[in-house]
Symmetry: C2
Subunit: 402 residues, 2 copies
């Protein structure tokens, strides 16, 4: 905080955002507690929270302050305009808790409400200066390095995510081929919707949830990295199928994992592209080194693919076919955290001990009717080793034996 | 927009917030599409989105604009500072799409990033004035009135939520009493954790999720409205047990439902409090009328409880025991939406056709070791009738027959 010349951090809490508030959850260990965190430089963090939620507040280990210490009903009587009342409640709280100087603001909020509140607050409290950090802010930077306890949790959510993908593979393998599609033992076509329901059930059975959605796409859709798949389509033999799921343990950390499969068989062209994606993923992982700039790996992937005749965003942007995106991203209390494996001139990220991130090369060809992406999560340990948190094999073809 | 003198709405999209962005989801029908919505007064809304997500963008019916029309890589090369680059991308977009005048800002964002962006943007674009609406803003006001299609979806999530609670009741009834607790047929104690896992499985099996958490609390914890329950506790006979769940259909609407139960038997005191809570809920519902201020119903509940000797926030605030909260809240793409059934001087909400809201009286007595709350969702139809969207009986005791 000294380095950035920030005197106080104010981190806004839920307002219905709960899981979607990583900076707040970092302080409260993802407890469901309505409130806000105030941390003055050199002092422990305080949690201002509703008195009904004392149990949750106690579980956070933060200093607990009742939000009703500044009586909202009395303030509302005095200030019938809601913005005035909200500002007055803040003013009293900031005054009593000694919030002054450069105040960094964080947390998930409603844009307009927050802008109105912060603008008015700086008018009525000339003793504070609101600071919105944009790039590499204090909290996302702090969250970048995971400690051993966090990495253990991320290992667990990784194992659970692999178990979900294994359940999908097992379900498909238990089917049989019938006229180019996969059917159940009873002869019913297995659809993408069926698989998505299975994924949702398995995610839930492992104590996880999928707030960002689930990708299970087939054929030409796999060439669009974010196409989610058409529920009504039956699974077709020989087509590229991409599963990309990023579940979160309830009150915990995210994982993010992608595999491309083909059921029964794959064309030589699809297999070749798959093998290239797998090869460069393995090369990158073998070369990972703490202290290196992440752009080096993005450049390595672009060079590898271009040597093999694929267009890449290393040479042209935007791009519709070939290698069209960045190589990976940080992950933790958010799916996409600081630390982008990108060659963008605005990024100067480095691989650091405690970083947890995805590596996810892919090649996309709508004109050929397929895309391939493989994605694992890696943790950089304190001593600079790299651990794969996605222990799941990479094999294109799911054999159909029935 | 004319009434509020706003020329353009800008609604920020995902950035990882997906389900937790009701104002954006209102425009994109909860599609998983990264982008932002721009709507000029008197013109149809535009969706600026990533070109990979063309399928999702098409599904929204909005006018589709590629976010790469303003080449981010080129901008990044010219503006190596990330805030500068983000502002320049916006500036070009706003200029080309004719965004000027009073610009209302909406959507779920990161507080500091957004404050930095908006502050800088108003510096470099003197032709725009950023407007943060605080109270009864355009979008939450528009979302207050649900159309027939929305109410049909809310009916469906209501039925599914009741099915989850029914599964919990069935699970408990299949148990047997053993030395004051409930055990399975095999003699294993049934714990709160077991019930929560059942709830999560059932929520998922019905195509829903619980981003706000699940309350299943017992005994003294039920006197704290937001206590979530201790996973390790076995279910005890005769104790108050409160289930309060607010699942959301994936890509859809929320429901919110509470029942208090007692397993096997209830003390006369608990039964009496339960009966009073049920009676006032029924009275309020019988009196609901479109066009009435919501405060009238909060006052009705306070008067009813005070006549029966209970302290209420009608007379003292904050309050630890008795009737300690507001009567209900709007619900839809958020659990808590505009329309609070409150006597707060800052609220002047009215029951309007199309409103969907909870009614949830409760009484809380930590000193007696219990709290009781009953909560159903009601919709006000266009012709001013009221429909209960939570078709589930109210009966305190779950009999144990084995």
């Amino acid at each position: 905080m000294a380095e950035r010349n920030i005197d106080v951090l104010v981190v806004e809490g839920p307002d219905g955002f709960d899981a979607a508030n990583p900076n707040y959850n970092y302080f409260v260990n993802s407890a469901h507690v309505n409130g806000l965190v105030i941390k003055k430089r050199g002092e422990p963090a305080m949690l201002v929270h509703h008195p009904w939620e004392q149990l949750q507040a106690d579980s956070t280990g933060l200093i607990s302050v009742s939000s009703e210490r500044w009586n909202r009903r009395e303030i509302a009587r005095e200030f019938p305009d809601r913005l005035d009342a909200a500002v007055e409640w803040r003013r009293r709280m900031y005054r009593d808790l000694g919030v002054s100087g450069r105040v960094g603001v964080y947390g998930t909020v409603n844009s307009g409400h927050n802008f109105a509140l912060l603008t008015r607050l700086s008018q009525v409290m000339p003793e504070i200066e609101i600071v919105g950090e944009f790039d590499h802010d204090i909290l996302t930077t702090a969250r970048l390095s995971k400690d051993a306890h966090e990495i253990e949790q991320m290992r667990r959510v990784g194992r659970k995510t692999c178990a979900v993908v294994q359940a999908v593979v097992d379900y498909i393998r238990a089917g049989r081929a019938d006229d180019g599609i996969v059917v159940t033992g009873a002869g019913q076509p297995i659809t993408i919707g069926d698989v998505k329901r299975l994924i949702n059930r398995e995610v839930s059975a492992h104590g996880m949830e999928s707030p960002i959605g689930v990708i299970f796409s087939q054929g030409r859709d796999t060439a669009l990295p974010h196409a989610e798949g058409e529920d009504s389509e039956p699974l077709r033999l020989g087509e590229a199928i991409t599963i990309d799921i990023c579940p979160r343990e309830i009150n915990g950390y995210y994982h993010d994992m992608t595999r491309t499969f083909a059921i029964g068989y794959a064309s030589p062209e699809l297999q070749q592209v798959y093998d290239q994606v797998q090869e460069i993923l393995e090369r990158v992982v073998a070369d990972l080194k703490a202290g290196e700039p992440t752009r080096r790996y993005q450049e390595q992937v672009c060079a590898f693919f271009e040597e093999r005749g694929h267009p890449t965003i290393g040479s042209a942007y935007p791009l519709e076919e070939g290698y069209i995106h960045d190589l990976g991203h940080g992950i933790g209390l958010e799916v996409h955290e600081q630390l982008l494996f990108s060659a963008l001139p605005t990024r100067n990220d480095m691989v650091v001990p405690g970083a947890v991130f995805t590596i996810e090369p892919g090649l996309y060809y709508a004109s050929k009717g397929f895309g391939v992406r493989l994605e694992d999560v890696y943790a950089c340990t304190p001593d600079g080793q790299f651990e794969n948190l996605t222990p799941f094999p990479k094999q294109l073809v799911i054999p159909i034996e029935h």
